[in-house]
Amino acid sequence: MLELRHISKSFPGVRALDDVSVAFVPGEIHALVGENGAGKSTLMKIICGIYQADAGEVFLDGRRIHSRDYRQSLSMGIDIVHQEIQIVRENTVAESIMLDKLITYGPTGIINWRAVNERARQYMEMVGLDVPPTALMKGLSAAQKRLTQIARALAANARVILLDEPTSTLTKHEAQTLFSILNDLKKTGVVLVFVSHKFEEVFAVCDRVSVLRDGRHVGTRPTGELGRHELIRMMIGRECKEDHLGRLHFNRDREVLRVEGLTCHGKIEDASFTLREGEILGLYGLVGAGRTEMARVLIGEDRMDSGRVIVRGELARIRSISDSLYRCRIGYLTENRKEEGLLLKDTVRANLTITVWPRMVNKFTRWISQRQEDRTAHEMVESLEIRTPGLAQIVENLSGGNQQKVSLAKWLAADCDVLIIDEPTVGVDVGAKEQIHRLIHRLAERDRRSIILISSDMPEIVRLANRILIFRDRRIVGEVDDVDNPARTYDEISMAIGEYLQ
């Protein structure tokens, strides 16, 4: 049995886990669910030693364990199957499974491949992997790679196997196969922890489910006693209608953006929608469902295979972000602010004005006016309430919330009509989150900007958007309108969204 007692973990600015206690019983598949950012991944990483808990204890079969890193956890019989498939493409299946315990001819260091393949075959049989042990990894399907990873965990004598969204890259049929293997596996007394966003899987496969919300453990229930609605309520159940931001008075007649049949194969298929002035259009769906992918095609970061984009009534050809920004005034605030949003080592000033330098240039000397630059940066710092000791501060030193405001501000400085905002509050603390929400609302309501809000955070999207498009499997599968109507309750809207996702 794997038992967690009072686990807490903080990152700068965020309390990722707060006093979480859960017990995982052998012979059961235990689901761990929660919204993005609820703390599931952090908890998994603490169990397998990648992160260290700030407080709390982990017990394995009644014995307290203290793991410094992943290797050590592995040696204690805890293994994780990551969401992304991590393999060495050129290795054989047997090699991948036996990687850390290859059998050699005595002390010579020469590998006895016959023995390795033989041993690997045993584990492959356990997980129902029906390929020769000498097959190369790169030739395997996603599901077979998954099974290889599980076989590898078994070969490492794992008594606890953490599965982080194992079906996210699998087809339905492949997922079914995986489930039946997991069902066989649990009878051998392995502790299986299953992280998933898909309710149907949770109910079909798992015996027990634990819900995390905002880093706290909401509850653990046998799946048999739980209805789907109840589970959703546990996941997102906070009351959030109490501080309603007010209805958006967008302009129904003025269409700012129309997208028709936007397609980029493998990323987004046949997406069509319109956006009106002063509107906040929410895009909801799982990571990889096509929301961010569509946004990136729209702004020219990825090539469009077919489709039309009409900006303010004119057909737009957007082949780079430069086109999107300077010709169409469409801005894109990336979900990945550290890697793609900010020049972390540069000043607040440079990060705020990077989009508007051409506007501040003296025609003759080509010199960017430092006065204008300071003024613009100042305005942004003031209107967005960015907390910084000065414009010369290095952005890396700001807190997450303020960094996010900086990366939002550069698009406001550029005077974009349309702003695509991707996961604006990931890794941002509660206070800054509230500020960012109010800011986005103000941008639409007061400044008449049109906003496309991509978010996996259901309360966030319901709170801000007036209309929500639901994405699944790279398509728009539904639309929920009139979201900002104060007469509609949060539950009503979230259920309506949930219907499209099942």
């Binding site: 970061e301 972000i321 020049l343 990077i354 010199w367």
Partner: protein, 343 residues
Amino acid sequence: MSHIPTSQPRSGLEKRVLIPGRTIGLLIAAALLFAVIAAYSDTFLKPYTLFVVSRQVAQFVLVALAQAVCLVVGGMNLSVGAIGSLTTVALGLCLDNWGLPAWQAVPVALAVGAACGLINGLLIIKVKINSFIVTLSTMFIFMGLRSGISGGNPYAVPDSFTIVGQGKIFGVPYFFLIMLVVLVVVAYMYRNTVFGRRMLATGGNEDAARLSGIRTDRMILGANVLSGLFAALAAVLYASELGSAAPETGDSWLIVSFAVAIIGGTGLNGGVISALGILMGGIIYTLIRHGLIEIKANPYYMNVYLGLLILLAIAIDRGREVYAQRKRQTPDTAAEPTELHSD
């Protein structure tokens, strides 16, 4: 939700630093080195020695600039020397074989250098191969063309061509003055022009720069053309100094270009450059070489000292970075709760 008062940025921090602390360190190091050598050697302060040394500084600085502009956008250019060689051969062909006047030959040579840079740049952005591989390959190609075309023989240049490379004004070589002009232009460009700052942004974080509407591919292309141009300029001036267009020009530039650029504080990961720093780097590098000759160090071991010098420069830089990071982390985490509301 309580209203959070806006922090009023303090005006003292608004100031853009004119000369960063690191460059001041280099200035002091260069001055010390100069003083030590001047005190030790009887001949060092003679006008002729200073003339020769300053011309050498000028050459090294131009070569380092050719490297630094590529480093700034997050790339590198291993073919700086090869471009210099090929440019020299082009110059020789124009002056010697075709008898063109210098005012026609020099632009042709510079254009050849810029074209080499353009080829590098196009390969990097269009074929999307990293700059290391691209310039490693083109280095061989350019070197091969150089040898094939010239057959290894130097070209004669007319006497009038040597005026710039051998002449001086108030004891200062024209070569050095031209280098200073180039350096000032570069400093101006990176300090606050759109092109310069966009190149810096590209080197600082290419993805973020692109997602901020910067055509990063054009920045990389521009940097490589500039790199070719600077290498060509160094080659032309060197031919003028030498009084002949020698195809082996540039054979030793690769190491020099990195050494001077790195000592001068150019960030190896891109986004950081200091024109003044590169000048100081050039002076320090030249003086150390000169000093080693003065103390009659075994010339066969010369490269050992220069290699150690590069390592030292990197180590000092790294040390500063680690120190700055440590200093930053402690007070910043303590300052965090001012913004955090109870969670």
